[in-house]
């Protein structure tokens, strides 16, 4: 399991860059970023090298943010590797709300996803021999 920070952003010009500036000023390194947006507001999802520090910097700057746990795995660099794992999750009735990929420290692809049943997801992935992070 890894932690991700979710930041609420209203639909206004410059908000993403302001958010990144706060992190830059706090000396935070971003490992990954993804934005979910509707026409009204957006949720910025980031994984950093120091989530606690990033969260406190964002809160101080007035950004509504919270930590969210993601199930994360390292995916072997070969065709169909991700599909096999997702099929196993699907067959085990694990619902994935969203997922995105990022680079691991060793350069391998990693996948993080949010689910309502993380324990079950972890158990299923272990059964498949997936490398959990």
């Amino acid at each position: 399991m890894i932690k991700q920070i979710a930041v609420f952003l209203e639909n206004r010009e410059g908000r993403v860059s302001e958010c990144c500036k706060v992190l830059k000023d706090a000396g935070i390194n971003l490992r990954s970023m993804s934005i979910a947006d509707t026409k009204d507001f957006g949720i910025l999802r980031i994984i950093t090298d120091d989530n606690e520090l990033a969260l406190s910097a964002l809160k101080t700057a007035g950004f509504l943010s919270s930590l969210v746990e993601l199930v994360a795995i390292e995916v072997p660099d070969k065709s169909g590797a991700l599909a096999d794992l997702l099929i196993a999750l699907y067959e085990g009735s694990v619902n994935i709300e969203y997922m995105y990929s990022f680079a691991g420290a060793n350069g391998h692809a990693q996948i993080g996803f949010k689910t309502t049943s993380p324990e079950k997801a972890v158990a299923l992935l272990e059964q498949c021999g997936a490398k959990l992070i």
């Binding site: 930041v7 209203e10 009204d40 949720i43 809160k59 509504l64 919270s66």
Partner: protein
């Protein structure tokens, strides 16, 4: 043409005498039949017998919308429920609506009052009238419906929405008269243009507009685009609904049905009576309402009154177009909206803060209401589903109370302007 020549062209002296007789009767009737009035008058130390002249009305305390709310739903009734033949409601300042009721006699008065305004506005028995007000608890649609029927016109209860279909009906059924809000009339005109129609493709000639204020420029645009004679009419459900006053073809103020409604113009500061032609708050007294007498009801609408005879031959007093309100009520899509209603809904959601903004705009002649709130609850930021649900729940709660759709914008905390003094919560960007 005048619908009720005897009443509408009565001399001022005769009208005042009739009003005084009826005022004495209604004050006595209310005092004897509605505990609310007895208590109010006893506390103020006035008795029905203190009313000897029309000016003596100033001795009586006012009635406000808050009184109706406190006596929700039936506390203001002067007759048993078995005598009630109709119940309507309008939006209240908080969650509960303002309920109004009618006896058979009230229904008859209401219908006659609207029939007079229909004729004054140019309506005739051979007209085909399309009523584009929302049918339901709102008094506007059924009030106009009854009045037009009484005049002998063919009534199409088209209700609101689906403008293309409204236009189709208007063309196919050869509608000659339109009843709607003035902004909806302009929206219809725009849609007609868009669909490639010309005013000549229709048989429209009369337009009776109400339930929201309108400017003379707006009327000119309606006249040009729809080829109708546009007139305003005014009313409020607390008094009767539409039927309090309406313009004649000379368009120089709305003729008040003074035999049923006594009008005062008072200073909004100290409630002292203002002279003819001076702008102030309109305070109305229903002189004949049997189910629910309204004595000195504060409309909170600002207008002035002209008592001189009109070129049309009517002698009834004429009230000018409304110049504003003494409270913060908004009229959006013809529906009364109080910021306090919106605030009440927002306060029930702990995820959002106490700051909010209400923005009213008009696009293509259609009103839009936007409510801007601030998210203060960190804990749901990580859960997209919860945010979406919050947004849907707030919109649903607002719609339940306001009866109209609201665009909701959830903003970041502290992004709305803060005020040191009285907060400016309402931004009305409509041009007219």
């Amino acid at each position: 043409m005048i619908y009720d020549k005897k009443i509408e062209t009565m001399s001022r002296a005769d009208m005042r005498a009739l009003q005084l007789t009826r005022l004495k009767e209604i004050v006595k009737y209310a005092y004897e039949n509605v505990p609310f009035y007895k208590k109010k008058y006893d506390e103020a130390g006035v008795k029905p017998s203190d009313i000897q002249t029309l000016e003596d009305i100033q001795k009586l305390p006012f009635v406000t919308k808050a009184d109706l709310r406190e006596n929700y739903p039936y506390g203001m009734l002067s007759v048993p429920l078995s005598k009630i033949s109709r119940i309507h409601a309008s939006s209240g300042t908080s969650g509960k609506p303002t309920v109004v009721a009618y006896t058979d006699e009230d229904m008859e008065v209401w219908t006659e009052c609207v029939a007079r305004l229909v004729v004054a506005g140019g309506g005739r028995s051979d007209d085909i009238v399309q009523i584009c007000f929302g049918y339901g608890l709102f008094t506007g649609a059924l009030g106009l419906h009854q009045g037009w029927e009484r005049v002998g016109a063919a009534v199409i209860p088209a209700s609101v929405g689906n403008t293309e279909r409204q236009i189709m009906l208007m063309k196919d059924l050869q509608t000659t008269a339109l009843v709607s809000t003035p902004s909806y009339a302009l929206h219809i005109a725009e849609e007609m243009e868009r669909l490639g129609y010309k005013p000549e493709d229709f048989k429209l000639r009369v337009g009776m507009f109400g339930s929201e204020a309108s400017s003379e420029e707006m009327h000119k645009e309606i006249a040009r685009k729809l080829h109708v004679l546009p007139t305003d009419n005014y009313g409020l459900s607390e008094l009767i609904g539409p039927g309090v006053s309406g313009e004649c073809e000379h368009k120089c103020g709305m003729h008040i049905n003074e035999d049923h409604f006594y009008a005062e113009i008072l200073s909004p500061e100290d409630f002292s009576p203002l002279g003819e032609g001076e702008y102030g708050e309109l305070v109305l007294t229903s002189l004949t309402k049997k189910s629910m007498p309204m004595i000195r009801y504060r409309t909170k609408d600002i207008t002035k009154i002209d008592y001189s005879p009109c070129a049309c031959g009517r002698t009834t007093a004429r009230m000018a177009k409304l110049k504003g309100r003494t409270d913060d009520m908004l009229v959006v899509k013809g529906v009364n909206v109080f910021p306090s209603q919106i605030e009440g809904v927002l306060l029930s959601f702990k995820e959002i803060g106490g700051s909010y903004e209400i923005v009213v705009t008009r696009e293509d002649y259609k009103d839009k209401l936007e409510v801007r709130v601030e998210l203060v609850d960190d804990s749901i930021v990580g859960d997209y589903g919860k945010l979406e649900k919050l947004s849907a729940d707030i919109r649903h709660a607002l719609k339940t109370v306001l009866q109209i759709d609201v665009k909701l914008s959830i903003l970041e905390h502290k992004s709305l302007k803060r005020y040191e003094g009285k907060a400016k919560r309402v931004i009305d960007l409509r041009k007219y």
